[in-house]
């Protein structure tokens, strides 16, 4: 509790600081307002995966979203391998539930001038342990987010905006996450040893970063998305 009071104290200090202009709550709220304009969307795009032990083609995907937190990625003509839990930790989800978080203002990032805000869940049992947002205040757009969870490690999002910026919808999202070790018993696979280089360090195999790059080509916003899609 003590630390929380301490943090709150910092926030309140930050809030009154004239140099900062807006309070973190104001910043988050503005982002939220922007996102609130979107009730649902259906987006088309491509998904590229970069995980050490996976080789997969670039997928043509359809992404469906519905307020408050329904998200679905469908591979149109392939196998959609999607990192577990990532969907629930979408940016929107946290922003929409901003009330459940305590905010800490860390000021601006020097290089980019982005506002850095940390969010800590009030509920100690929440899966999210800590979330850090890097926000473009002028446009009220989240440019980067880091979320640490209890069960699924740390996720990182990098968002690039284009023509759908007014809705707070990105053109490109790079999603980084931790992967676990992958190994199948040879008895199942009967591998052919083609002499390809084996991974030299098993440690590297265990703690790897996976990356997924989602590029959106078009959004259909607020045209209605049936619930059945999310089943």
């Amino acid at each position: 509790m003590k630390s929380l009071i301490y943090i709150l104290a910092i926030i309140s200090v930050a809030a009154v600081s004239p140099a900062r202009g807006q309070t973190p709550e104001e910043v988050i709220n503005k982002v939220k307002e922007k996102l609130d304009k979107v009730n649902d969307y259906e987006a088309s795009g491509t998904m590229k995966m970069n995980v050490s032990f996976i080789k997969a083609p670039v997928a043509t995907v359809k992404i469906y979203y519905k307020k408050p937190d329904k998200l679905k990625i469908n591979n149109e003509n392939g196998i959609s391998l999607i990192p577990k839990g990532s969907l629930n930790i979408s940016v929107g989800h946290i922003i929409t539930n901003a009330g459940k978080f305590d905010m800490i203002d860390l000021g601006k990032e020097e290089k980019t001038g982005l506002r850095i805000i940390k969010l800590l869940p009030k509920d100690e049992n929440a899966d999210v342990v800590l979330s850090t947002f890097y926000i473009d205040e002028a446009q009220s757009l989240i440019k980067k987010a880091k979320t640490t969870t209890k069960d699924n490690g740390t996720y990182e999002l990098e968002l690039t905006y284009g023509q759908y910026a007014e809705y707070g919808l990105a053109d490109k999202v790079i999603f980084s996450f931790n992967t676990k070790e992958y190994k199948l018993p040879k008895g199942v696979t009967f591998d052919y040893d083609d002499g390809a280089k084996k991974e030299p360090d098993s440690d590297q195999l265990k703690n790897r970063k996976g990356k997924i790059e989602l590029s959106y080509s078009s959004y259909l916003i607020n045209k209605g998305v049936p619930d059945s899609i999310f089943q």
Binding site: K48, K55, G78, I79, Y192, D193, D194
Partner: protein
């Protein structure tokens, strides 16, 4: 050459035994398809167990005709050699056993030619058997399970191949499997020239394949570097090489093969073994006294 080959093929396909192999293959493939049709998602779950902690993938997408075919080949190509041995191991010894060999050898055809013709006939049987496997395992699976990208589970990685990049790989894989099975046919055929009854060569071939396959599958470093590279069963798995793809930052490169040189090398080693078995058989048979 052609009339003689026709005769040999006629002899093969006039025997009920020949069709046992085709029936057995149809039965095995049908059973696998049936099992995957009704319990496929569990099987996919097992194959994807290494991924399931990090990733989600709808089993329905993974379980498609291409995947079913891959798994059928994975299970079947280890056992088809037995069916090949059933015919190839009988080519010479079966005639000896029946008492027709002495009539054949007393005909105005050189023994070398006779053996070439017989081996060609055995090879054609092998190819037909593989075409049968291809029709049932690939075409029928596509009809039953549809198509999608192919999920290739490997020991330490997963390859996903685009739907439009798969068929040529199967064509290549079947061609490779043909070389592998013709090697088995050659082994069986060679043993067949040694014996006067067909059980011996068939059993001997099956034993060789079982022992070699066990050695191939055993993960003991001592064998890995000493004898494994010389076992033809190790190279018979080379058809899978066509499903091991190259990637660029995790993205499958269409039309790529991870290590084409290894696959070609395996193919050449198999062809070398086949030639060795065939010529040893011919050499021996030319010196053999036909006492049967």
């Amino acid at each position: 050459m052609w009339p003689l080959l026709q005769i040999e093929l006629y002899k093969i396909f006039k025997r009920p035994r020949t069709f046992i192999a085709f029936a057995v293959i149809a039965l095995i493939i049908f059973l696998i398809q049936l099992a995957l049709k009704f319990g496929g998602e569990e099987y996919v779950g097992l194959v994807m167990s290494g991924l399931s902690s990090t990733f989600e993938a709808p089993p329905g997408q993974v379980l498609n005709g291409y995947f079913v075919c891959y798994n059928i080949l994975n299970l079947l190509l280890i056992h088809v050699p037995i069916l090949v041995a059933l015919i190839a191991g009988d080519m010479i010894s079966g005639e000896a056993n029946m008492g027709t060999l002495r009539l054949l050898v007393a005909k105005p055809i050189s023994r070398t030619r006779l053996l070439f013709v017989k081996f060609t006939a055995a090879s054609i049987y092998t190819i037909l058997l593989l075409i049968w496997v291809a029709i049932l395992s690939l075409l029928l699976s596509i009809v039953l399970f549809g198509t999608n990208e192919l999920f290739v589970p490997r020991g330490q990685e997963v390859n996903i191949i685009s739907s439009h990049d798969i068929l040529w790989r199967y064509a290549a894989a079947f061609a490779f499997a043909t070389v592998g099975l013709i090697t088995v046919a050659a082994l069986s055929f060679m043993l067949s020239t040694f014996a006067d009854n067909s059980i011996g060569p068939i059993v001997a071939t099956v034993c060789v394949i079982i022992v070699f396959t066990i050695l191939t599958q055993m993960q003991i470093p001592f064998y890995d570097n000493s004898i494994k590279p010389y076992l033809f069963t190790t190279h018979m798995l080379g058809w899978k090489g066509f499903f091991y793809v190259k990637g660029n930052e995790g993205v499958t490169i269409d039309g790529s093969i991870e290590n084409i040189r290894a696959v070609i090398k395996s193919g050449l080693i198999l062809a070398g073994y086949a030639a060795f078995f065939l010529f040893t058989g011919i050499w021996y048979f030319n010196r053999k006294n036909i006492l049967s």
